[in-house]
Assembly symmetry: D2
Homo-oligomer: 351 residues x 4
């Protein structure tokens, strides 16, 4: 009963097979192998336009280097205040940019409030040096609260960002989960909605470690090869990342894996709906579910072998109607979650 | 006939098997799995003392974060002027430290000259702010010229570094190749000779990507968890790095792989010694050989399918007695090099 | 009628005389002149303990270098969300520290709320790398809302900061104004209340440019000479800063100048109290007054020659009871403000 | 007998008078006063084209921020290996750029050797990320060896720099001394010879502290207001810097002061030429003289009250023919040097 995080899952067999195949041969290093090139080209096909792709070690690296690519002196990026970049990367963006600031914005269920974004950006006077310079907007898709932006919501935010020419970055650590939920194309969920840079994550969805920084605006990628290299993020045996992405995209593996994870979450949502001992803290759509339950029930689940993380109630969470003895808990399904794990969890809950 | 670099080789079967095993199960993320902990403990056993170990994505990251861990305001690290940190990391050390300087020192065959090191460090006046502050010395083992420091040479350098309390860092991208050549213990080649921090590389010796930052001085490692994390170098699925190191150390795999690569280099050295068309530019000891040959012979080898890199003659290389039509070429053997590749190369050379 | 800022005032005659005297002679550069040394010693006398003093160019530099001196990887400093470091320094702290984060805290009238501070710091888990590391607390005295912390309030905050060993920094751009208002000693307002580092400003109180970074904890100052120098903040003709501070302290000039500015503010407060057209937005104590008046009255004052800045209502300012046609305005008196300027302003207001 | 450095001199009376005048009035802060604007305009007149001017605290700040304005990821700036940026700024360029590297080039008498520069820059492959990116060339005028580049020499260097579009920076800490020696216009010594950015120093030539960063290529200055501000280098009472420059330029004061310093150096050179106890180490042209004398003579001069610094023989200095008992000494004249100081020095030498 593994519900702690999709990054605790293993890896899909197809991914391992691809690594094993690559292990038996030589290949040019530092991203210049034929496989590296082919996979980068594959990204362009998947996104239906020419993109610039840079494999990196972690999603945090992708986020930080994305910000480094667009930073300006006194630069400020706007993101949700519960975003991974603010809460979970140990100041990585600030460090990798040499001192950019993340301005955390409120907004329900992990989504930036567009009016607030517009107001906050508008308050900066580009002729004044004192307050610094806005330099980017960043959203997370599927976001930290398990919510998913509709393409039109992304378009609304990109319009606000683009007015003063700020690029829009998407942290796509759970890109596939959001994509299959929405049933749109990768293009529709990104550049067609105004996204300029994407942190594209494969690790949480069945890879052992495959993350990419994707630029839709090629001009912004001009210095990215150097930005990645100087950060110690250019793998010598880059083709083992390429091999993972190759298998990931082959025959729609990535979509299948994400659909499975989401379906497992749906099965869990159904079970929760039928239980009086547990309730969703707010509705979510992909492979993450946030539930409120009593601490004694949580304890019981743990004793039964369930793994999950307690969660900090969001600042906007005062409407959660939690009692003192209640806990907020996050349950995440993965590409490898088994239906019987869901059933066991629900059984354990019934006691 | 792959002699371009050991980072173009694939990976050992044992490494792949370990990854595959790990892929089929869940495990705690961010380096806190049982396997991660066991492998870190394994490092302590191998080095015969308690060490602090941090897996990172690349050797450049290990080097840069090592320097970040010991940097001081106006900090200057001393290394050979042909070192990887200076020549091949796109300013990674400077960037990851927020502005340290690498002071390149001359020295024959990629080794720092101890007298020169002593003189240069001694020229800094600790009471003067103008020239900056010495903060570390770094050597490469096996070094960029294919040479290997004897433990007593390392001791000489560490004594010089330690006088003004500078830590000694070793870039061990080819640690195993040096180790098996010397026939000493990991402890003897490092902390017993005064090394304080080690970039321990497994990637070039049969892993798909396994690098570790190892601190012998635990005090220096105090902030390293944060230093790694903020650089986007903490893998969520860290246990896939741990799995590689686990297999790497099991039954002495790492030593076997390195011995094989070195033996292949020895076979090649022998062949070269018997040829009038090619000669070693200088003697080397591990799995790298630097040769002088005519450009027409180099062309012939390439046509026969040999892969290798031309090399920039070192600043001290004016004694190479190269003719205008000669090239300096580096030949590197790997864990997977086949004897027949050596023989084919030598055959091709004979024409 | 100059009420825009005390940094728009000129300089006291004593300050100019000291500069002129120094101009006629030679002196050792880079802070090593006899005068530099004597003035640094003078700081120790004024603060009644040995302090380490570093002259810098601006208050922003003092703040940024203070933070650089105590920063840690993933470091986070806590300050009021309206603080100068956040609002007015173009990301200087983030830049000069190489990526520290400023965590802005709410709190009435520019003062950090101690309970909130305790809660926010307490939420960081020192064993988790994800959220970063608390590294300092910073308060402003006289603060951005014109308020002044009582020594016991400072003690309360320092106790909270010191629990997890965070140093307490004071941004003292208007140190003297606060000091003479409180009628306490420099020691009582700083280290005796737990302040570890001070940005000591003379510029706003009659110097042409004299700012100093003062360490009460000498251990924290160990690298400060290098931190200042590498930031381009060590003046070659440092003795012209020393000369200003020398005159500043002689015969209590600094206290006289500050008392005058505060007295002028008091005179203005009295006048405002007697007017029905203008009211204090909130009570203040030093040389800054925040008033609410109609935009037509503001316009009238401007036409009469009054200089002042509009001010952004604080986030906590919803209790200001401003009407749509009202403005919030800041009025600052200086060492050189003339009583007749106050009277003219009040006359102009009466129309 | 003050010959230690021109930064130990006081300040010209005209400079002090200008400061005193400004002290008696209010003025807008942060560089927006009428005087600030007028003086910036004055720079454009002096340089015969529109320039962008930014006052900063020190020459090191001007140098570091110039490099920050043009830096690129993995950026490398080329300068003489004895340059102030390398030897005397505590890693300020590296720090203020967030990790640029200074590549020190040899060259006789402090001048970059153009052939060597061309060769070194040409060795960088713009398609390879490993070695980093060239980003600027910097020369010092009057340089660290007391030498002065002829405009045609500057043109030669700028042509080399501009081939791969690298901007040419000039560190003009002793700009005026070089200018009056050459007898050319400020335009001829800078942008007409291909200089793109200038650190313009007034401090060593009679100001108390007046340094400016001057951009001839306005495009490069686009972010400079933010670059300066975030570094804590924007003075609130900026008009006191402006006032100094105003007086500096009025009636050619700056040229008069520099001519005087140079004339004093000439008088000293003449005296030295007539002495058998002291000789110039190499010919110089502005206000710095490097001499070889016996240590006992140096001691005698010191006892007689002469102030000067010993100097480290340059790497190319093996032709200095110094005996073991000889010292290399730097003698610097200033705007305020008196003829009788020269004569006393020469008298003391004669014993």
């Amino acid at each position: 009963m593994q519900f702690a995080s999709d990054n605790q899952a293993g890896a899909a067999q197809e991914i391992i097979d691809a690594i094993a195949r690559e292990a038996s041969r030589f290949g040019v290093s530092y991203g210049e192998s034929a496989l590296d090139k082919a996979v980068r080209q594959r990204f362009s096909e998947i996104f239906e336009r020419e993109v610039a792709v840079f494999f990196v070690a972690t999603g945090s690296a992708a986020n930080g280097l994305a910000m480094a690519a667009v930073n300006r002196p006194g630069g400020i990026a706007f993101c949700h205040r519960d975003s991974h970049m603010i809460e979970d990367e140990c100041g990585g963006v600030e460090y990798l940019t040499g001192g950019a600031r993340l301005h955390g914005l409120e907004g329900r269920q992990g989504k930036i409030n567009p009016e607030r974004l517009d107001q906050v950006i508008g308050a900066f006077d580009p002729t004044s040096v004192h307050g610094g310079q806005p330099m980017a907007v960043s959203i997370t898709q599927q976001n930290e609260a398990g919510e998913i932006y509709e393409p039109r919501e992304i378009s609304t935010i990109s319009s606000i960002a683009h007015k003063p020419r700020l690029p829009l970055h998407m942290d796509g650590a759970r890109f596939a989960n959001a994509l299959v939920h929405l049933g749109v194309s990768p293009a529709e969920m990104t550049w067609k909605a105004g996204v300029d840079i994407l942190s594209f994550g494969g690790t949480k969805n069945g890879c052992i470690g495959a993350e990419a920084l994707v630029f839709f605006d090629l001009e912004l990628a001009r210095d990215a090869p150097f930005i990645r290299k100087r950060a110690g993020q250019l793998f010598s045996k880059s083709r083992f990342i390429a091999a993972q992405f190759d298998a990931y995209f082959n025959d729609g593996l990535w979509l299948r894996l994400a659909r499975h994870a989401n379906a497992m979450a749906d099965r869990l949502r159904e079970g929760i709906a039928g239980s009086s001992r547990i309730r969703q803290a707010w509705p979510t759509k992909g492979n993450e579910i946030f539930v409120v339950l009593s601490s004694s029930d949580a304890e019981r689940l743990r004793k039964a072998g369930a793994m999950f993380h307690e969660w900090k109630p969001p600042a906007e969470g005062n409407a959660l109607n939690m009692m003192d003895s209640d806990l907020l808990v996050r349950l995440v399904t993965a590409f490898s979650t088994q239906p019987k794990e869901i059933d066991s969890l629900l059984d354990a809950l019934r006691g």
